[in-house]
């Protein structure tokens, strides 16, 4: 079996079998939260792990995805499912507009530009009270898929439905990312990360490739934000906040920024921690910083790739 299929199969088995060990139905919710975060972090793997570009404003795209689900059904009369797509489209266009001038430049300008973009989106969501109801948050309509499934004879609790629905979306997202990794585009992204000048000499349009990675990762973040809004049926501007952007990057770095499996692992650990240790919530920023520093010193590739390397090293 190829590593790609092994990763996908392991992920599917984990998602399907984990509920057996859930002590209470509350954990369906935790699981769904993990999958939503893992989806956004998979986008970070494409952008940062492969293309070597850093975004500090990806939560902005999550905010767009989330508020598209809150606003488009009310103001445009769109079905929430179409609102998800509209959010993804807006995020993609915005990423393209921001990335196009910036990614022609060499260096880490994207980090600064995306930071500014994220802060702007967060400010708009906080201050346009007439539209977004500001920092208090806004209600999000029901997706309606659960009711359809019930009519079809599959009666899931709200927690179960979102657990499995987000799980399936995550598997789909991981499948797309892993497809990309070993395709011409993915190989080119990893190549330009290794040596930009060599990538150019073999004909790679470096600026265009980086832009593609940025747009794709923005769509991942946007859909992740939409799923969060739809399952909570409520959203606040925090979804677009700077801390959420930092969380995404930290999850990716912890698990292994070059690996999709690592991204999911990192998202799982950092989503579980505050649920399991309530004290963690108070010290979240401290712990995120500490995790970042420790991983950079001891496991620069991230947890999952470091462990895999150990196992392979022993095998030889």
């Amino acid at each position: 079996m190829t590593p790609k299929n092994a990763t996908l199969l392991a992920l599917a088995i984990l998602i399907a079998l984990s509920p057996i060990f859930f002590p209470s139905s509350f954990y369906y919710r935790v699981g769904a939260l993990i999958f939503v975060n893992a989806l956004a972090v998979t986008g970070i793997v494409i952008l940062t792990g492969w293309a070597g570009q850093i975004s500090l404003g990806h939560a902005g795209f999550a905010g767009i995805g989330a508020y598209a689900c809150a606003l488009a059904p009310v103001h445009l009369g769109l079905h929430p499912a179409l609102a998800v797509l509209l959010g993804a489209l807006i995020s993609a266009v915005l990423a393209w507009l921001v990335g196009r001038p910036i990614l022609r430049l060499k260096g880490y300008y994207l980090a600064v530009a995306s930071l500014g973009m994220g802060i702007l989106i967060s400010m708009v969501l906080n201050n346009e009270r007439d539209l977004t109801r500001g920092p208090d948050g806004i209600d999000v309509p029901e997706l309606g898929l659960r009711a359809l499934l019930k009519d079809a004879g599959l009666d899931l609790s709200n927690g179960q439905f979102w657990y499995f629905f987000c799980g399936i979306v995550l598997i789909l997202g991981a499948w797309l990312a892993l497809n990309l990794r070993d395709s011409a585009t993915g190989r080119a992204l990893r190549a330009l990360h290794g040596s930009e000048v060599a990538a150019k000499t073999v004909g790679m349009d470096v600026a265009r490739l980086k832009l593609q990675a940025f747009v794709i990762s923005a769509v991942y973040a946007s859909i992740s934000g939409s799923l969060l809004a739809l399952q909570n049926k409520f959203i606040t501007p925090d979804v677009a906040g700077f801390m959420h952007s930092v969380e995404m990057v930290t999850m990716a770095v912890l698990g292994g920024v070059g690996s999709v499996a690592g991204a999911i692992f990192g998202a799982a650990v950092l989503t579980l921690l505050p649920q399991v240790l309530t004290v963690f919530a108070e010290y979240e920023q401290l712990v995120l910083g500490l995790v970042m520093v420790l991983v950079m010193i001891f496991l620069r590739e991230g947890v999952v790739p470091s462990i895999l390397r150990k196992i392979r090293g022993r095998g030889e």
Binding site: L180, D182, A184, R190, G203, M204
Partner: protein, 256 residues
């Protein structure tokens, strides 16, 4: 039947003329070497031709088209590729992936097709991989295909760079010191490889310090000193040229 012609190329760095008014041309199947003492401006000249630096003056004409200061990825599309003196391999990718990267222009399709792993993407990837394995065999690296490129020896990396460049099926190949740091056996292998590539009709422009190799394989030699062309001609005439001997051994020796 000139494929690549360099017309009066020059560049200055802070008032210092690193390369000044250099002209020559390369025909298909020909090996043209640029030689000169350290600091003569050979690599700078290469960087201008390959679009890494913007020349201050002069033109680069490829296949009748003015390609001066064109971005390297556009030059690659027009059939020009190069290797680097200070190796530029994709360290964390495997040897095979490095070589497949050379097929980028032939392999790449729409990004959505890649995301969905459509049959078209799979087919192109398969073709690129088959071609890459063939090339690795040609440069003697087929057994290292699955290894991480960063773990290869210096000489192997040089050959990997050549394999990656050959994957583009270039019309013009610029080789910047392909034998630097290689032992005698490796040098001879690279030597054969270059002759073979030229024999298939590729125009080769070579910068090399190994004089024996240059004299053995070049059809034409251009000599640079202090950024200026001081001589050109076939290997025999260049090696007898007093200006060249003076540049290499110092003026006094030549006079004495």
């Amino acid at each position: 039947m000139t494929l690549l012609s360099i017309e009066g190329l020059g560049i200055s760095f802070g008032g210092l003329k690193a390369v000044n008014d250099v002209s020559f041309s390369v025909k298909p199947g020909e090996i043209v070497s640029v030689i000169g003492p350290n600091g003569a401006g050979k690599t700078t000249l290469f960087n201008m031709i390959s679009g890494v630096y913007q020349p201050g003056s002069g033109k680069v004409i490829l296949n009748g088209e003015d390609v001066t200061a064109m971005s390297p990825h556009l030059l690659a599309r027009r059939g020009m590729c190069r290797t680097f003196q200070n190796l530029q391999v994709f360290q964390s990718m495997t040897v095979l992936e490095n070589t497949i990267a050379g097929y980028h222009l032939q392999e790449s399709g729409h990004v959505l097709s890649d995301l969905l792993n459509l049959p078209a993407s799979r087919r192109r990837a398969r073709e690129a991989e088959a071609g890459a394995r063939e090339l690795l065999k040609r440069v003697g690296l087929e057994r290292a295909a699955e290894r991480e490129a960063g773990s290869l020896s210096y000489g192997s990396l040089k050959r990997l760079e050549i394999a990656r460049a050959m994957a583009l099926k270039p019309k013009v190949l610029l080789l910047d010191e392909p034998a630097a740091g290689c032992n005698a056996v490796e040098t001879e292998e690279i030597d054969h490889l270059i002759a073979e590539i030229a024999a298939s009709g590729v125009a080769i422009l070579l910068v090399e310090h190994d004089m024996k190799m240059v004299m053995r394989i070049s059809n034409h030699i251009v000599v640079l000193d202090h950024g200026e062309k001081i001589a050109e001609g076939d290997p025999a005439s260049v090696s007898q040229n007093p200006a060249v001997i003076a540049a290499y051994l110092g003026a006094e020796n030549a006079a004495g």
